[in-house]
C-alpha cells in the first residue's frame, strides 16, 4: 500500500505512456520529457502561488498585522487576484530601451530557474531530468542568471537599472564561490555528481535511529550553513536585497519593468529560491529520505516537500527579522570568512573520510573546523569598540 502510494506519480506516467506504446521511440521520448516538464511546472507554479500568499501571511503574523484576508477563505485566493491584476496591467517599455533585450531578460531568467529545477530528485525514481553531471548542470545553467540580470539592467537604459545590475552581479559572483565550494565536500565523499547517488549515499541509520544525512556531520553542518547563506544571496532576497534596495535605487534592474514582465521577474526569484533550497535538501538533508525508520511508510515526495517548506519558512523568517546588509560588509564576509570556511569543509570532509567515517572521524573533523573558525575569528577581529546603544523613544 505504502509503496503504491509512493510510486503513484511514476505509475501515472507509465500509464499515460502506455497509450502511445506503438509509436516510434523518439515520439515516446519526447512525450515522456513533456510529461516531466509539465509535472515540474505544475508543481512549482502551484507552490509559487501558495508561497507568495503564505509569505505575506507569515510576515504579517511576525509584524503583528493581518496580511491578505479579503479574497477567498483566509485570503488564500490572493495569488489569483494578483495574477489577473498583473496580466491586465499596461506593459510599459521605455522609448530609449533596447526592445529585444528588454523583452528577453525576464524570459531568460525564468527559463534558467525552471531548468535548474529539473535535476533535483523529488522522490524515489522521481528525477525529471537525469544527467551524468546533475550538480554541475545546476551550477552551469544557474551561472547564466547573472547574464540575464545584466541584460535587464542594460536594456532598460536607466541609471538605477544599471546600478542594480552591477550590484547584483558583484554579489552573485562573490557568493557563487562559497556556494560551489560548499558542495565540493559532498561530491567528494559520495564520489559522484549525480543527485540520485548523493541521496542514495545518505540512506540508512546509524545505530538504527540517527539518519546518515550529511548535515549531521561537522563538515556537513558547516557546509550547509555556508550553502544556505550563499543561496540566500544568490536569490537576492532580504537581508541581501542590495541590488534592488528600494531606498536607494528604486528597484534595481527591475525599475523599468511593469505588468507581466515584472511578475515574471518575481516568479523567477521564487523559482530560483525553490531550486537552491531543493538542492540544499538533496545535498545535506537526505533528499527524499525519511528522518526515522518507522516513518518510511510516508511517501518519499512528502518528505522532500516537507523539508523544502521548512527551508522556505526560514527564508521568510529571515526576511521578517533582519534589516538589509551593507554592500562592503557583505563582500568582506564572502571573501574573508565564507571562502576560507568553505575550503575548511573540504579538508574536514577528507579528515572524516580517512579517520573511518565513524565517531573518531566525527570528532577529528569537528576539531579541524573549530580550530579554523577560532583562528579566523581572531584574525578578522577589527578590535573596534562600540559605544553602548541608547534608545530615546523605544524604551
Amino acid at each position: 500500500m505504502s509503496l503504491a502510494l509512493d510510486q503513484i506519480f511514476v505509475r501515472c506516467k507509465h500509464w499515460l505512456l502506455s497509450w502511445i506504446a506503438g509509436a516510434p521511440n523518439w515520439v515516446i521520448q519526447i512525450v515522456s520529457s513533456l510529461i516531466n516538464i509539465f509535472a515540474v511546472l505544475a508543481a512549482f507554479l502551484t507552490l509559487f502561488a501558495l508561497i507568495s500568499v503564505l509569505e505575506r501571511k507569515i510576515l504579517a503574523r511576525m509584524q503583528n498585522r493581518y496580511g491578505p484576508n479579503r479574497v477567498g477563505p483566509f485570503g488564500l485566493f490572493q495569488p489569483i487576484a494578483d495574477g489577473i491584476k498583473m496580466l491586465i496591467k499596461e506593459d510599459i517599455v521605455p522609448a530609449r530601451a533596447d526592445k529585444v533585450v528588454h523583452f528577453l531578460a525576464p524570459v531568460v531568467l525564468a527559463a534558467v530557474a525552471i531548468l535548474t529545477l529539473g535535476v533535483i530528485p523529488y522522490g524515489r525514481n522521481m528525477t525529471p531530468f537525469t544527467i551524468n553531471g546533475g550538480i554541475l548542470f545546476f551550477f552551469a545553467v544557474g551561472s547564466t542568471t547573472e547574464l540575464a540580470v545584466f541584460m535587464a539592467g542594460w536594456a532598460s537604459n536607466n541609471k538605477f537599472s544599471m546600478l542594480g545590475a552591477m550590484r547584483a552581479i558583484a554579489q552573485m559572483f562573490s557568493y557563487e564561490l562559497p556556494l560551489i565550494i560548499a558542495v565540493l565536500p559532498v561530491v567528494m565523499v559520495v564520489g559522484s555528481l549525480v543527485p540520485d547517488r548523493i541521496v542514495a549515499a545518505q540512506g540508512g541509520y546509524t545505530l538504527g535511529v540517527v539518519p546518515r544525512w550529511f548535515v549531521l556531520t561537522p563538515w556537513g553542518a558547516t557546509a550547509f550553513i555556508l550553502f544556505f547563506v550563499s543561496g540566500l544571496v544568490e536569490s537576492n532576497r532580504t537581508p541581501f536585497d542590495v541590488p534592488e534596495g528600494e531606498s536607494e535605487i528604486v528597484a534595481g534592474h527591475m525599475t523599468e519593468y511593469s505588468g507581466f514582465k515584472y511578475a515574471t521577474f518575481f516568479m523567477a526569484e521564487y523559482l530560483g529560491m525553490f531550486a537552491v533550497s531543493g538542492l540544499a535538501v538533496t545535498l545535506f538533508l537526505g533528499g527524499w529520505r525519511a528522518p526515522l525508520g518507522v516513518l518510511e511508510f510516508v511517501p518519499s515526495y512528502v518528505w522532500f516537500f516537507l523539508k523544502l517548506s521548512a527551508l522556505l519558512f526560514v527564508y521568510i523568517w529571515l526576511r521578517a527579522t533582519l534589516p538589509r546588509t551593507r554592500v562592503d560588509q557583505m563582500m568582506n564576509v564572502a571573501w574573508k570568512f565564507m571562502l576560507p570556511m568553505a575550503f575548511t569543509c573540504v579538508i574536514a570532509a577528507a579528515v572524516w573520510h580517512y579517520a573511518g567515517r565513524g565517531l573518531r572521524g566525527w570528532l577529528w573533523s569537528l576539531l579541524v573546523i573549530v580550530v579554523v573558525y577560532s583562528a579566523l575569528s581572531v584574525l578578522l577581529d577589527t578590535g573596534r569598540k562600540f559605544a553602548r546603544r541608547t534608545y530615546r523613544f523605544a524604551e
Binding site: I131, N132, A140, S143, L147
Partner: protein, 160 residues
C-alpha cells in the same frame, strides 16, 4: 536523428557567430557570442561529452561573457559613430581559417572510420588530471593564483 541535430546546431552556431562578428551594436554582438558559445556546448552534448559541454557553459557563459560585457560597458562610449571597415581583421580571420583548414585536411585520421569511443566519465577525467597531468595542473593553479594576487595589488589603495 543525430545528423539532423548536428545540422540544426551548426546552422544556429554559425548564424550566431556571424551576427557576433557583423552587428554594429557591441552589446548585441556580445550577446550573440554567448549564443554561439551555447551552440558550441551543445556540440559536446551531441558527442556525449556532457562534462566538457557543461564546463564550457559554466566558464564561458557564466564568467567570460559577463567579463566581456563589463569590459564593453566600462571602456567605450562610441558605439553610435561609424567605424571604417577593418581590413586587418579580415586578413587575420582568413589566415586563421586557412591555417585550420590546412591542418584539418592534413590530418591522416580523417579518412579512417572512427572507432567507437565510449564517452569519458567525469571520474576518468579526474584520474587523468590527478595522476598523469598533476604538474601542469599545479602550474596552472600557481598561474591563476598569481593573476588573482596581481589583480588585488592593482586595485589596492595606496597607504597615506
Amino acid at each position: 536523428m543525430n545528423s539532423m541535430a548536428f545540422i540544426i546546431v551548426s546552422v544556429f552556431t554559425l548564424a550566431a557567430a556571424l551576427a557576433a562578428a557583423t552587428l554594429s551594436n557591441l552589446m548585441h554582438a556580445a550577446l550573440c557570442l554567448v549564443l554561439a558559445l551555447l551552440g558550441l556546448a551543445s556540440f559536446f552534448f551531441l558527442l556525449g561529452a556532457e562534462f566538457v559541454g557543461l564546463v564550457l557553459v559554466f566558464i564561458y557563459v557564466g564568467a567570460v561573457a559577463v567579463l566581456i560585457v563589463f569590459t564593453i560597458l566600462l571602456t567605450r562610449r562610441d558605439s553610435k559613430e561609424h567605424r571604417g571597415f577593418n581590413w586587418s581583421g579580415v586578413f587575420i580571420a582568413l589566415a586563421v581559417f586557412g591555417c585550420l583548414t590546412w591542418a584539418i585536411l592534413k590530418t591522416q585520421s580523417l579518412t579512417i572510420v572512427p572507432p567507437h569511443i565510449r564517452a569519458l566519465a567525469v571520474k576518468q577525467i579526474g584520474q587523468v588530471l590527478m595522476a598523469g597531468y598533476v604538474w601542469p595542473l599545479q602550474c596552472v593553479g600557481v598561474l591563476l593564483t598569481a593573476a588573482l594576487i596581481g589583480a588585488l595589488v592593482l586595485v589596492l589603495e595606496e597607504k597615506r
